[in-house]
Amino acid sequence: MSKVIDVELRNIMKKFQNNVVVRDFNLQVEQGEFVSFLGPSGCGKTTTLNMIAGFLDPDEGELLIKGRRMNGVPPYKRELGMVFQTYSLFPHMTVAENVAYGLKLRKVGKAEMQERVKRVLELVKLPHVADRYPKQLSGGQRQRIAIARALVIEPSLLLLDEPLSNLDAKLREELRDELKRLHQEIGVTTIFVTHDQEEALSLSDRIVVLNHGRVEQIGTPEEIYNRPASEFVHTFIGKTNRLEGVVLAQDGEGLTVKTAGGLIVRAARQQRAFAPGERVAVFVRPEKIRLADGAAADEVNHASGQLMIASFLGAFTECEVKAGGHPLSVKVQMDGQGMPLTPGRAVNCRWESEDVLVMPVERG
Amino acid sequence: MSKRLSILLLTAPSMIVLLGVFLIPMLLMLLLSFQDDTQAFSLQNYLLFIQDPFYLEILWRTIRISLWTVLCTLLLGFPVAMFMAQASGRMRGVVTMLILAPHLISVVIRNFGWVVVLGEKGWINETLLKLGLIDQPLRLMYNELGVVIGLTDSFIAYMVLAIATSLYAIDPSLSKAASILGASRVRTFFTVTLPLSLPGIIAGTTLVFSLSMSAFVTPALMGGTSVKVMPVIAYEQIMSTLNWPLGAALAFLLLGSTILLVTLYTRLIETKRYKEVFAS
């Protein structure tokens, strides 16, 4: 099966005045793929989306949609669907009129229009609100209608600009699952902009992590999470513990690092090699650390210390441990068999060398 | 279409009207005010004003009437604004409607209503005569009193709105905080509410003062021939005496003195502390 490329970005660069906000952006999105642009605000993700939508023109590089060069083509000629953070439903039109607007512009016949509106409202599970005005809908309903309005014209590409950001936590999760279901059902190629790593991880086929206008990494959620290409990617996606240190030894199976606080950390083989004496940062995710009773002898991937804070969060308890001069964050699953987490008590932290990530420390 | 062309096309009509009906005429008027009888440049119109006590007396009368109007609108308007700030949304709407709607009806008609009330055979005089409280009708208009009443009616809406706007902006929990700290209601008013409504008071007083200084219709109708103010004599010079240079000069002198007084007033009242508190 040969791949069909729906969207292609070639060396895209965009600057505002003399400020480069997006540089060297290369990406190929396959037909039916769900790709997220993930990054903090100001990373260039929205600017890139606006270039794909046609609200901005790249200063350098080429943008192709369905193989057609799109530089300079206005948004209304691109046949794309877009959903905005603020819903952006026309307040003076009913739900049905909102959804039908794109069809009306395409001079679709009345009977077909009604049929398609009905079908898409059923698709988003809101067939009963057709005659209401947007004001009369809840936030979640509005966003579903906005999705329906974008989908009804059968766009070649669906652009989602932080569509879940204005919703409260529970609704957000609901709509996230809804997006996933819709994408599986209709398979429209989708580009999703978000600053929320959970959304990106759960929805995407691939994630583009952006920082300061640069692509940090493009990869599947697993790759991004488990094999981050940079310290930024690792720290942006999920909580982590960062310990600075110096490489003691490197061998075929991995390397040994001595941290500033004196802990000896053994890491499994990394993507790149390190030389002994090199300054590095060692990362261990909180959920990868296990707590045990009492103090242990000083050995590899062990740290004994004192439990400082324990915050019960339902499914797990978040603990802060002071071990060898490092504050360590530890996530403890509550399975009933654990020890009492009383602040002040001595604890023993332990982790596996497979769960350790080592990154070089950049010297400014 | 380029951005520059769009801007040009969109703003051109308004700029043409502004230029042809406002800016050029004002400039012409300014030049004319510096002309003497032979159309040569001269300061004589302005010098005449300074040297002739007749004109200075009129300016002082205009200022006096405006100050009284400011005082009346402030004293009557502040409580209304307080009431509006404390009222529920619905009550507030009703009060706003009732205070603003009259404002959209011609001043000539409103002044006529006051003639019916204040005139020699007006409501007040007839009532007082009938009750035997007076033997002769009181002179309630065709004097400065009548003008101040008419102007107060005309401009109180501006005062109320200006003060109400600043009162709405005060966080209601501030007066709660003051009472918890032990301040009485009167004390809270003078130490919290009043100082924080200062921007509204300043806006209202300067606006009402400027409007009163240049009011023409009310002094003409409610003051009659006996109460001559600056706008009235400027009008007479233009339309009756046909001495346009002097009329123009009088109009600018009125504008200039208004701006001068308003500037002095705000300089005096907007202290350093005021500016720090209300800096935007």
């Binding site: 309005r149 | 969109l10 308004s14 005429p25 006529f112 009330v117 109009a251």
Partner: protein, 266 residues
Amino acid sequence: MKKLNGYGLITFFVLLLVNLPFLVIIPSSFTSAGYLSFPPEGFSWQWYAKILDRPEFIESFWFSLQLAAITAVLATLIGTLAAFALSKYRFRGSGVINSLLLSPLTVPSLIIGIAALLFFTRIGIAGTFTGLLLAHTLISIPYVVRLVLTGLSTFDYTLEKAGYMLGARPLRVFWDVTLPLLRPAIVSGMIFSFLTSFDNVTVSLFLVAPDTTTLPLAIFTYMQETLDPLVASISAVVILLSLVFIVLLEKVYGLERLFGLNSQSH
């Protein structure tokens, strides 16, 4: 816990005061006496019948209506265009243009009237309908600009983006999305311009020809010579007409919002 405090009492008094003129004009227009009095004596429509004997009032009434209507359309058109330029584009000099557009509000109408008279005499349109129309348009434009600018300031431009994405061209988006949502602001601007022109005396004073005058000016001139119930009956007609527009304005936009803007400018 509703109690009428001192503020309430004064408010009641002030509301009575500002509405008193109308409360006395309407009854006194129905007097059967031949002179102006309050409370009126008897009841009669005679003073309304007498309006018909005075062609100058009828004529000036129509003249004022026409003038106000054309002013409203012209000022709304010109003002709305300018407001769009100011809101949509950021450009050098936009601040200057903005304050220029509002400047006729800060200069007394007396001066605007005199200046217009001087200049219009030179170019030969003093005492013409055109001259009057231009001057009335000038003093109405600031209100339109401010109302439409306020409307645009709360306008969500992503709605336009949404329109483009659905395939609508710029003009279509303007017509289908932008304009309908700004309608309240634009319509209020139009009504407010109408009332501004219809009520104006001070500017008209300098620009009317002796034989064609506006209604408020005709009343003004008449009042300076005669005070009889005829003024009351004419005023009552104007009050009624204005009330229609005021109610309209309240329905379309809300007076509170309308004047909220008014007090901020100075």
